[in-house]
């Protein structure tokens, strides 16, 4: 099976997964107790007519299967419906907010890479020494802290006591510096939560390479340790590092939800939480569709890159 065929196959396999995921979310939301029309209007008094109108506007009087198919059909055309709470097209809100979450996730990921890869390499090179040990423990401590708790502690220390960074918010149309300034604490909190994975995978990938015969040969020929690490080992450790990306994506997305909540960043994560709390079905459905699609496509991309870089892997 060629690469193109492999990609096509994987893409087709994604279809039932994505549809299944949307169906799952749809059913879960619609089986929950409570009348959406009332939830839309809140607890205050509303005339019967208003409630009828709401049902009409949001297709709530259609049978469930029809609601789902209508939604799916519209979603295929890029229309994810209108938010119950904000009464705005969900697609529009997602388009508006995704850059914020993307910037947060990306900076968190970069921090994890910037810290985790060197730490992993050092850990591997100094295998079974104190350095290795301490690195592992520190990295694991990062992943063991609830990300939101870490965020709170960072705010307490760096905003409240030291005043170095803003306590919350995101400079949407600020300068690059503004944005970095706002992003620093959230990105640290988010990055720390995934760094252990980076360290672990870099370490074991490096170890695999360092134990290869040709590295031993190079060593015995007197090639310097630095050249071995940068010249041989690092290049070969690239593949496993790529896999981390795939594994970290879900963690990054989940972490973003918590980080955005702690730091008051109006990204997709906080939109989701608010939508869940307000039972804003269209928004929850739209967001989960987007999140699931991103997840499966990123995983596919990682797999394809992986096979592309490493032709030894078979396509099945």
């Amino acid at each position: 099976m060629g690469l193109a065929r492999y990609v096509l196959r994987r893409l087709l396999l994604l279809v039932p997964v994505v549809i299944g995921a949307t169906l799952l979310i749809f059913l879960m939301l619609h089986l929950a107790p409570g009348d959406p029309a009332r939830l839309i209007l809140g607890q205050r008094r509303a005339s019967e007519e208003t409630i009828r109108n709401i049902r009409q506007i949001f297709h709530l009087n259609e049978p469930l299967w029809k609601q789902y198919l209508l939604w799916l059909w519209d979603a295929l055309h890029g229309d994810l419906g209108r938010s119950f709470t904000f009464r705005r097209p969900v697609t529009e809100m997602i388009v508006e907010r995704y850059p914020i979450t993307l910037q947060l996730a990306l900076s968190g990921w970069l921090i994890s890479m910037a810290v985790g890869i060197p730490a992993g390499i050092v850990s591997a090179v100094k295998q079974y020494t104190k350095v290795d040990y301490v690195t592992t423990i520190v990295a694991l401590s990062g992943v063991s802290m609830p990300v939101f708790w870490q965020g709170i502690m960072l705010i307490l220390l760096f905003s409240y006591f030291l005043g170095w960074f803003p306590s919350s918010g995101f400079a949407v149309d600020g300068t690059v510096f503004d944005r970095l300034h706002h992003l620093t604490l959230p990105a640290i909190a988010l990055g720390t939560s995934i760094t252990a994975l980076t360290v672990r995978l870099t370490r074991s990938a490096m170890l695999d390479v360092l134990n290869q015969d040709y590295i031993r040969t190079a060593r015995s020929k007197g090639v310097s340790e630095r050249e071995i690490i940068t010249g041989h080992a690092l290049q070969n450790a690239f593949l496993p590092i790529l896999t981390v990306l795939g594994m970290q994506l879900g963690l990054l997305l989940a972490g973003s939800v918590l980080t955005e909540t702690v730091f008051g960043i109006g990204g997709l994560g906080r939109l989701l939480i608010r939508a869940v709390h307000k039972f804003d079905y269209p928004t929850v459905q739209g967001l989960t569709l987007v999140i699931v699609t991103v997840m499966v496509f990123m995983n596919l991309l990682v797999d394809v890159l992986y096979t592309f870089i490493n032709p030894k892997i078979r396509y099945d």
Binding site: V18, A21, M28, S141, S144, P146, W149, L156, L258, I291
Partner: protein, 305 residues
């Protein structure tokens, strides 16, 4: 051409017979290498200590965790209240000690359900293959396509917010991970000759599944369980933080942490210490899981720390 036969006739009995014949060779090897893995031991010891604290909570805790105003409200750490008091004047230390119970219990329930579900699904998929595999694993793919916290959030909103639903949500979210591990294990076992032998003996699929396939996946299961235990505690504390938490007045660390948040500036101890407790347990479970993983990895048997 006929290939050259490899002489493999050699007894592979392990040197260490201290553990006796109760455990198979593989498990003995794992245990003994774990015993030499210092980090794994520290992790295990910490977990045992926490379990002890949870079990002996009534003896250890200086106060009733539910009783209000055993001390002044929002009082900082002192000799009377080592970790201070919360907004109702309840003793934070006592609540943390009792909180270990709920925290561990819920995490165990979550991981227990998911490991049982995941094992059955994964073993059935891997062992039966064909359309059963296809159907089960596509279903698992659907669940797996969600970031776990996000699916748990939506589930909590749907099924109602109480601690058992939180555990159930986490269980569902973890099931695919178990199913995948067990399935790949079952797939490789399917080709093992002792499975074929059981089939020529007339063993039904179900017999083989429960008698051979699942028991032989136990070690992988244990590692996965340990690591997921850590994640379960984190996810549940995340749910608490997002307001999808546990019912009061039963203390759990996640709830204490989330609840103390509003008092952060004047009484940071209410949130800080439960956070530290979570971190210690999760860290211990992670280190222990790492140790187990190393021990299970045949490449590592010779070079354990």
């Amino acid at each position: 051409m006929a290939q050259q036969t490899q002489p493999v006739e050699s007894a592979d009995t392990d040197d260490e017979s201290a553990l006796g014949g109760v455990l198979s060779g593989r498990h003995r090897r794992i245990l003994s290498s774990l015993a030499r893995h210092r980090g794994g031991l520290v992790g295990a010891a910490t977990l045992v200590a926490v379990v002890f604290v949870a079990v002996a909570a009534p003896v250890i805790a200086p106060y009733d965790p539910l009783e209000q105003f055993v001390g002044p409200a929002l009082a900082g750490p002192s000799t009377a209240h080592l970790l201070g008091t919360d907004m109702y004047g309840r003793d934070v230390l006592s609540r943390i000690v009792f909180g270990a119970r709920n925290t561990l219990l819920l995490a165990l329930i979550a991981v227990g359900i998911s490991s049982v579900l995941g094992t059955i699904i994964g073993a059935a998929a891997g062992f039966y293959g064909g359309w059963i595999d296809e159907a089960l694993m596509r279903g698992m793919d659907v669940v797996f396509a969600f970031p776990s916290l996000i699916l748990a959030i939506v589930m909590m909103a749907t099924f109602g917010i109480n601690m058992y639903n939180a555990a159930f949500a986490v269980a569902v979210v973890f099931t695919p991970q178990f199913a995948r591990v067990i399935r790949s294990n079952a797939l490789s076992l399917r080709e093992e000759e002792f499975i074929k032998a059981a089939r020529t003996s007339g063993g039904t699929r179900r017999y083989i599944l429960f008698k051979h396939v699942i028991p032989n996946g136990i070690s992988e299961l244990i590692v996965q369980t340990t690591i997921n235990l850590a994640s379960a505690i984190l996810i549940m504390s995340g749910l608490n933080f997002l307001g999808l938490g546990i019912q009061p007045p039963k203390p759990s660390w996640g709830y204490m942490l989330a609840n103390g948040r509003s008092y952060l500036l004047q009484a940071p101890w209410i949130s800080t210490f439960p956070g530290v407790a979570i971190m210690i347990v999760v860290l211990a479970a992670n280190i222990f899981g790492d140790g187990l993983r190393d021990a299970l990895d045949p490449r590592n048997t010779e070079r354990v720390r």
